[in-house]
Symmetry: C3
Subunit: 335 residues, 3 copies
Amino acid sequence: MAPEKRDLLSAGDLGRDELENLLELAQRTKDKRSSQLLVGKTLALLFFDRSLRTRVSFEVAAQQLGAHCINVFADRELYGLEPEEEVVMDGPAEEHVKDAARTLSRYVDLLGVRQLSRTGSWEVDRRETLLHGYARHATVPVVNLESTMEHPCQAIADVMTMRENLTRLQGRRFTLAWSMNPEPKNMGPCHSLLRLVALSGMTITLAHPLGFELDHEIVEHARRDAEMHGGSLRVVNDLEEGVRSAEVVYTRSWGSTRYWDDPERERMVKRSLQSWIFDERIMGLTDDALFMHPLPVRRGVGATDAVLDGRRSVIYDQAGNRTPAQKALLTFLLG
Amino acid sequence: MAPEKRDLLSAGDLGRDELENLLELAQRTKDKRSSQLLVGKTLALLFFDRSLRTRVSFEVAAQQLGAHCINVFADRELYGLEPEEEVVMDGPAEEHVKDAARTLSRYVDLLGVRQLSRTGSWEVDRRETLLHGYARHATVPVVNLESTMEHPCQAIADVMTMRENLTRLQGRRFTLAWSMNPEPKNMGPCHSLLRLVALSGMTITLAHPLGFELDHEIVEHARRDAEMHGGSLRVVNDLEEGVRSAEVVYTRSWGSTRYWDDPERERMVKRSLQSWIFDERIMGLTDDALFMHPLPVRRGVGATDAVLDGRRSVIYDQAGNRTPAQKALLTFLLG
Amino acid sequence: MAPEKRDLLSAGDLGRDELENLLELAQRTKDKRSSQLLVGKTLALLFFDRSLRTRVSFEVAAQQLGAHCINVFADRELYGLEPEEEVVMDGPAEEHVKDAARTLSRYVDLLGVRQLSRTGSWEVDRRETLLHGYARHATVPVVNLESTMEHPCQAIADVMTMRENLTRLQGRRFTLAWSMNPEPKNMGPCHSLLRLVALSGMTITLAHPLGFELDHEIVEHARRDAEMHGGSLRVVNDLEEGVRSAEVVYTRSWGSTRYWDDPERERMVKRSLQSWIFDERIMGLTDDALFMHPLPVRRGVGATDAVLDGRRSVIYDQAGNRTPAQKALLTFLLG
C-alpha cells in the first residue's frame, strides 16, 4: 500500500488548518465552472445506497475539474462483497473487498463509497467494515460518500454555507436538533457536522429526545474540540430550550441506537415525538436563526413548508455548495 | 424561479416557426459529429421507466455538443418522490419533488424526466404530476423524455424523417393507426406526433378500434391546427379504410383509457383486434406509403417482419434522427 | 450491414499475428494515460450480468483514448429482448434484438455485450443467441464482454500478463486447473484463454475433476492449435498431477455441463471436490509457478489467502492489464 495516500473517512480526519484551506479553496472554485486541473484523473464512486445530491454533485465536481467520474450502483452491478478478513468465503459473497479495492486501485485515482450499513446490530454497523475495508486495501484515496457514522462531504458544504452567511463562526450560537421522521435514519451528517462546528469553536447546543443520543465518543470528542477552540457543547432534551436564541439551527432526524435492532419499537416511541418539528413557532424562539437541513426532508414532518421555504432557509445553498466543497476536496486529495 | 426558462413538456409547447427552425438546425447538425457548442453544460436525465433510444441518443447528442450527460435511474438510485404540494410526508416518499428539482437546478443546466405514470386511474395519470412538479420547481429547462401523454422528442425526429423523405408535408395524406400489442402502452408518441403533423397542415387520418380513442382535447386541438394550416383530420375505426391511399402510415399501440384501471379487461377486448397488424396486404392498400413506427415494436404482432424490414420502412431513420433532433433541441434550450 | 465490420465474439476470432500485434500495442499503450486517438467515438456496453473489472476497465480504456463509453445495465434499463428470428413476439419480450442492434448502430461506433445465459439447458446456453443476434444485426463491431462460452478480453489481458513475466511463452509448461466454488460458473475465461495459450504454442495441462470437462470442440481445437505451434495439450483429472512442474498455473471454477439443468445435484457432487483448492502445498509441487486467477475469487475456497497474496501471484496485474489490452482492442477495431 502506498504509505502516503490520504483518505477522508471521517470529518475528524481533517485538521483545523486543512478545513480552513479546503473552505477557502471551495469559495474560490465556486464560480469557476470549468478547469482542467484534474484532467486524465478518474474517480470510481460506489453507491450501496440511494443518493441524489452526493451522486450528482460529485459527477459535476469531477466534470468541472476535467476529471472523469464512474458511478457504480454496487448492489446491482457488482458481485456481493465480503468485508471480513481471513474468512472462508463459502457464503453468498463472491468477491472480497480486498480484491475489489486492489483491482479498482489499478483503474482509477480515487474511490468513493456510500454504504449505510443496516444489519440490525448497532455494534456491527458502527464499525463500518466495508468502508474501512476499502480504505485499508485500496492504494488510492478513499472518500466516505456517507456511512452509518459520518458524512464528511455534506458537513464541509454545511460549514461553507454557514460561513457565507455568518462570516465568522467562533462563538456563534449553533443548535443541532433532532426532528421527526418515520424512518430510523443514520447519524452520518450530524456526526460529521458536529466535529466541524466544534473545530470552529462554536457555542453548540445539541437537542434531541431522551434515547436518541448521538455516538458518545463523537460527542465527547466534539466537546473537547469546541472547548479547545473557545466554544462549548451542551446537550438538552427539549426542542424549545434547545433552539432558544440560536443564531443557526440545523436539523435532521436520526435513529435511536437503543432500538437499532427493533425499528417497530422505535416507531412506537416516536409517536410521542411528533412535536419535534421545525415550524414558525419554533423558529420564533431563535435569534432569527439561519435554518439548515441536509435534505432529503419530509415536508410537514421534520419541518414545515413555511420554514423550509422561508426567508432564513439556506437548504438549497447547502446542497449547491456540495459541488465547490467537493471540487476543493478532490483537488486536495489528487491535485 | 427564472422567469425566462423554457421547458419542453408537450409538442404543443412548440410554435410552427420554432418547429421549422428546430428541424432546419437538426438537418444541419446531422452529420456534424463533434462540436463544442455546449461545452461546460451538464444535463441530468431522470429515468423512471425503461429506455433505449431516448437514453442513448440523448447521451450521444450531449457528447457531440461537448456537454456532459448524467443519467439517473430514478426508481433505484433516488429517494422516493412526493409530487403533490402541501402534504404531510408521512408515507413512503422521502423527498419532495420541489427539493429534488431545486437541488438539481443547482448542479445542472437542464433536466429531463421520463415517467410513464401507471396508477390505474387515468384521471391521475394524465395529470403527469411528477413531470409538471419538476417543471414548476426547477429553475432550469425541463424536457419531457416521454410521459403518459406526450413524447415530443420522438415526434420531432419523426417529422424530421418524414421531411427527409417527402420534402413538403402540407396536404400529404398521413395515417396514424393503432396496432396490436398485448400490453396497454401509453399515448405519448402518438399525441405528440399528432400535434406536429397538424401544425404541418397534413391530411390526417386517425385509425383505431372503438374504445381506443386518443385524448379528446389533443385530437380536437390537432383538428383545429390542421385546418388552420390547410390540412384536415378525420377519425375512422377501420384499419383498411384508414390506410387507403395514404402516403405515410405511422403505427403504434396504445392502451384504452376506458380500461385503464382494468388491464385484464383490455386484454380480453384486444382478443378480437388481432387483425390490427401492418402486413403486406395492408401496405398494399396505401399509395406506396412510407412505413413508420417509433419502436420498440413486437414483430409479428403490431407489424410483420416483411413490412418492418421492407423497402418503404424508415424505422431506423426515425431512431437515428433522435440524435440530431435532440442536438437541435439542446442548442435551442441552452445555446 | 457493413461487410467489413469486425467483431470479437471469441478469442478464436483472433489470428496469431493479430494477437501478436494486439499484445505489442497493449504494451506500448500501457503507461500512456491520455491520448486522443478515438476522440468523437462512442461505445455502448450492454451488461446483462454483474461486472466489476470489465465494466470499469472498459470505461477507463475508452476515456484514456478520448472516446465516450455509455454503460447500459440492460435487464433494468432496457426493454425485454427477443433474440430468436421470425417469431411472433406475443410473450414478455418487448423488443427484438435486431431492432435494438440496428438502433444502437445508428448512435454508437461499437457495441459490447455481457450475458451469461442461464436457462438451465446447456444446449440453449452454449448457442449464445443474444450475443450472436447483436453481432448479426449490428452494423458496428460487437465485442463479447463475457458470455457463457468466452471472455476474450480477459484472455488477452491474461496472455499479456504471462508475457510480462515469462517473455517467451512457447514451450512453457502451463496448467489450467479447475478449482472449487459453490456456484456453477460459466466457462468463458477458461475457454478463451485455452484458445490463446494454444496459439502461443505452450505445453498445456488441463486439470479438472471428472464430469467437469470443458467444451469438447474448443479443447480439440486448442489441441490442434497447440500442436501446430510446437506445443501440446493433455487433460488430467487430478490436481496434484496437473500442477506438477508447471511454470504457470491458472485456476478458476466452472460448472459442469452434465448438471447444467440441476445446480442442486452439482452442489452435491462438489462436496467431494473441496480439495481442489490452491494452497501452499499445491503451489509447492510446481516449478515456482506464476499464480493466476481472473477474479472474482472466493478466498479460502478456490485458493488460500497465502497463495492469492503470495510472491508469485499476479492476479492484480491480470486485472490491471485489462485496461491496456482493451485500449489496444478498441484501437484495432475502431482506429
